[in-house]
Amino acid sequence: MRKSATPLLIAALLAGVAGPAGAKKDKDAPAASQGSSADPENPYPSTYKAYPGTATAIRGATIFDGEGGRIDNGVIFLSDGKVTAIGGPDTPIPADIAVFDGTGKYVTPGVIDIHSHLGNYPSPGVDAHSDGNEATAPVTAHVWAEHSIWPQDAGFSRALANGGVTSLQILPGSANLFGGRSVTLKNVPARTMQGMKFPGAPHGLKMACGENPKRVYGSKGREPSTRMGNMAVNRATWIKARDYQKKRAAGKDQPRDLGMETLADVLEGKILVHNHCYRADEMANVIDMGKEFGYRVTAFHHAVEAYKIADLLRDNGVCSALWGDWYGFKMEAYDGIKENVPLVHRAGACTIVHSDDDNGIQRLNQEAAKALGAGRRMGIDIPDEIAWTWLAINPARAMGISEQTGSLKVGKMADVVLWNGNPFSTYTRPDKVWIDGALLYDSANPKLRPVSDFEVGQIGAGDVK
């Protein structure tokens, strides 16, 4: 895959002129190579740059630092896009900066949603916008979710203003066993996907267990139509991927294959596996499949039965990204319980609260509150500040961005929410949201409500939502 630029350029010209025949020739051509990308390993690079912020301090708030720490009557100081100081009431801050009174309010790191389809299933949800599932083959490891993202989805602004979401992972849908690459975004309005792309975040690979792939392809009379078919196609694909990866690592010549590149990167630990999987028994099969082929699942998503195998998940170091109380909408979700999150947490396994929904992403704090309450009623007494890890450092780690964000530690991105009360209360909303130190939502300033291109000039544009 590291050849001169010329053959690909010619192939591309041929494809353009000759149509499908030319395109086929391109596909069959030996070892395609790079064009003029500055970084061939990263051909759609982030162009996101932090917006200007002013040095800001918040005093007197209760702070959950996102790693389980809590500071009462705390002080946090943001400057140059970073958290520059955090501590108790005596924390020194410069004299000439904007200071917000946080009395009665709470400060947390920005919410991170590890599972979203904003941009690839945007609003309005018309057929023309249905870009989340390349449901034409069960293995589409070659597609990248970022190429479906429409930055003008109004859902991003709702997630910001109502949910305090500052980073999110957009995944392909779950129709396919191998759905393709995910992308992590900063929740900042932009003209392009690249303008939102989280700098330095690794890609993820979306995989899916269970009902969706077997239903989608079984109904087309194709493999897989069963769970054993799911596993067989998965394993056959990993066999090819290992072969591809070995050749690539040895520098051997082979035709460039986008899907195999993705899977080889998984096998080399460069891409993190995010596996949609509901049932305990299937998760156990997938964990073994990872051992068979030499990769690790970073997180099971949805995982409504994670509580049944919380020990297995803990022992294998797999995170569970869960809903607060969604259950029962299909057979593999039938055993969902409200205590899933606290039970997995108590077992010592990595626990994340996720949305998979353009409404749910606006209230992840409330989803976590449901789990918190359900846990406490069964004697699992998790303090608020520990529960906030479900929305902060835990998803950040599972997305490979925990060095940059996910907690309020000095030197990290100033992705911060000032809440107008305890964020586990239904009555609480974001007061202000900073991303990389830039104030991008202020409930008191109507001009700091993002209005997408789709909305501008339409009824309701700029309304409080």
Partner: protein, 467 residues
Amino acid sequence: MSKRTPTIPFGSSLSRTVSARSSRPTLLDFARSCSNRTAAGIAALALLSTPALAQSLAITGATLAIGDGSEPIRNGTVVITAGKVTAAGAGIAIPPGTKTIDAAGKWVTPGLVSGFSRVGLVEVPAVNETNDASARSPFSAAIDVAPAINPLANPVAISRTAGITRAVVVPSTGTGIFAGQGAVVDLGADMNPITKPRAFQYVEMGEEGAKDAGGSRPAAILTFKTMLREAQEFAKAPASYDGRSKDALLNRIDAEALVSVVTGAMPLMVHVESARDILAVLALRQDFPALKLILAGAAEGWMVAPQIAAAKVPVIAGGLDDLPSSFEKLAATQSNVGRMVKAGVAVSMGLMDRDEGLQLRLATQQAGNMVALNKVPGATGLSWGQALRTISSAPAEAMGLGDRIGSLKAGRAGDVVLWDGDPLEMTSAPLAVWIDGIAQPLDNRQTKLRDRYATPEEGALPKAYAW
């Protein structure tokens, strides 16, 4: 077909159902009829067996919310006698000999009413065999959900555990714009779920209605008017109505079912979202003045709230819609409910978009978020009492049942929930639920799974032996 009777007058229907409850078979009878029940299993069901007859009960010292829109009061008392609320408020005298529950530090509300659901019609939505919400059938308007309500469906128990005691059950369209006749049900642990059968007719008139009518709004409106005129023809001369004529849109059975809609005897719940569709629906009264309309959805209702208020049409809304998720919801905002209430519209909340069969318990979250809006500059929310009303007395009143259920005013059904904290907080949950004065079981399949997997490791025997 000839056995179909006109809508049973509501009063007689409800009072019969309620008064008959205690003498009808309960789940315990069902349990007793099963062999191999463990003592624990029987014990779990004992809660609902013991008060086979509703006993008098007073709950004292609670933060008490009546459900009528008033704000909660401290140190309140509610008294239930013979299955009905006899008094609720502060300084209530408790009749001698009444069993009393000290609820200091707790909250008491009326049982919650879901304004829009499919509970009891669905077990697993994606499993067709368990989903009775819609049908591709030769019939539409005449479809009656009441006989199909399954009080043993797991979502009934799960919702009851969360403090939902009654629900509006709405059929979904399968053939054409009319879905059929919905019901109001209770979520009690017995085999008599129906509070009010054939409580309303349901019709789609927005984007969905256009689709159901073949692809356009004009077609939906014309279809609607034509069908209602056919119902009028049927009413005038039932014997001569030819439902098999090439010109007829309605067969005889569906025509008969729409007669009570045209006369206003049966409310018509109309699903529309956009401002223009709402106005188009209100204008239908020019042709059919007796229509007793209820709007469902109304995401853009705030834009035409004065007109809705003037028309005295109640609205059942989703509450949290704030995305332009379709072209009929471009102006959706969470302030929709607050703005409509402020304009004088009677607004309830329910599950409009999904999970209508399962997640009735989201009602408290919907209501709580309406309260949250009061702290957001520029937003219009609801007071706590108003918010509770949208999930208690308002949906009851929209169904014409305000004098029977949905609040803790004297004379209403003894549907009461005792909560461990503020019911609109996601960390709170019911400690006890009564329906018609009868204490309800608060366990369900989910609590059983929870208890089984409190520790994930297998014990001396596999998990399958832990039950």
